[in-house]
Symmetry: C2
Subunit: 158 residues, 2 copies
């Protein structure tokens, strides 16, 4: 009754044809993302981080002094949805908020030492999760893949 080839962790299940859908880049992107997303979520949860929290923490770490509106634009999310995330990161002592002297509407964001350590550790965990899910890629393959995805984003290197 089952398909001939079914292993315990079978991901494919019964063979289903997807000639049209499967040749769409958007569909393939989503499917690939669906493979890594739960794993990233899982490893980040060990540090009580959500994917979006980690993204914020990481961008702030690499852009000290960035303000919320810029961060929101960088992550393509709404300013309003950032607030609770920033609040929590600050409450946990992972980031700092300091008023910009020249513009009192804005808060300059920065990561604390703890925040930086957590970011680095979480990033390492995600990389290892990606290796586990996608299979280890050497640096060249990884760079090629990233470049291809950047090209899709319209951020071509050349």
């Amino acid at each position: 009754m089952a398909q001939p080839d079914e292993s315990p962790d079978d991901r494919t299940g019964p063979i289903v044809e997807d000639l049209v859908l499967g040749s769409l880049i958007g569909y393939r992107l989503k499917r690939a993302y669906m493979r890594i997303q739960p794993e990233a979520q899982r490893v980040l949860a060990e540090d009580d981080l959500r994917v979006v929290s980690f993204s914020c923490l990481s961008i702030i770490a690499d852009n000290p002094g960035i303000v919320q509106a810029e961060l929101a634009q960088a992550l393509q999310m709404e300013r309003s949805n950032l607030v609770v995330i920033i609040d929590e990161l600050e409450d946990r002592g992972l980031i700092t908020r300091t008023k910009v002297p020249t513009d009192r509407r804005r808060y300059a964001l920065g990561v604390t030492l703890r925040g930086h350590h957590l970011r680095d550790r979480a990033a390492q965990n995600i990389r290892e999760a990606e290796d586990a899910v996608f299979g280890r890629l050497d640096e060249d393959d990884r760079a090629t893949l990233i470049a291809a995805l950047l090209r899709l984003e319209g951020r071509a290197t050349a």
Copy 2:
């Protein structure tokens, strides 16, 4: 105040560093997907289809006789969430549901002629949207990209 290079449809905005986050495959997949998803949504909406409805329609078209549980597994979604989608596709006369004689719990799904035409047209629209967003790729490049994404999914060709 603004960065030196800002065009009307500027996607990058002020240059924000993302050395760590940006080198994660998962993040790059998500970003690439975020570029095409709204456009796919938009072109499908012209035919009163959602992305998930189109996906169902397309899988059914390529797998006549498939039942809901199989379809749910193929699209990695919950059976329960499929019901309303299938209902609507049937109400619109795009698919048919016929009881399986040998197992009266199951409904064999199939697409009507109208459904098939709609599927083909919608697929073509999405392809054109992908070309517009990602830049036209020749068949070789497209195949290479699809193969790379399939490899990430653990569905390597070789």
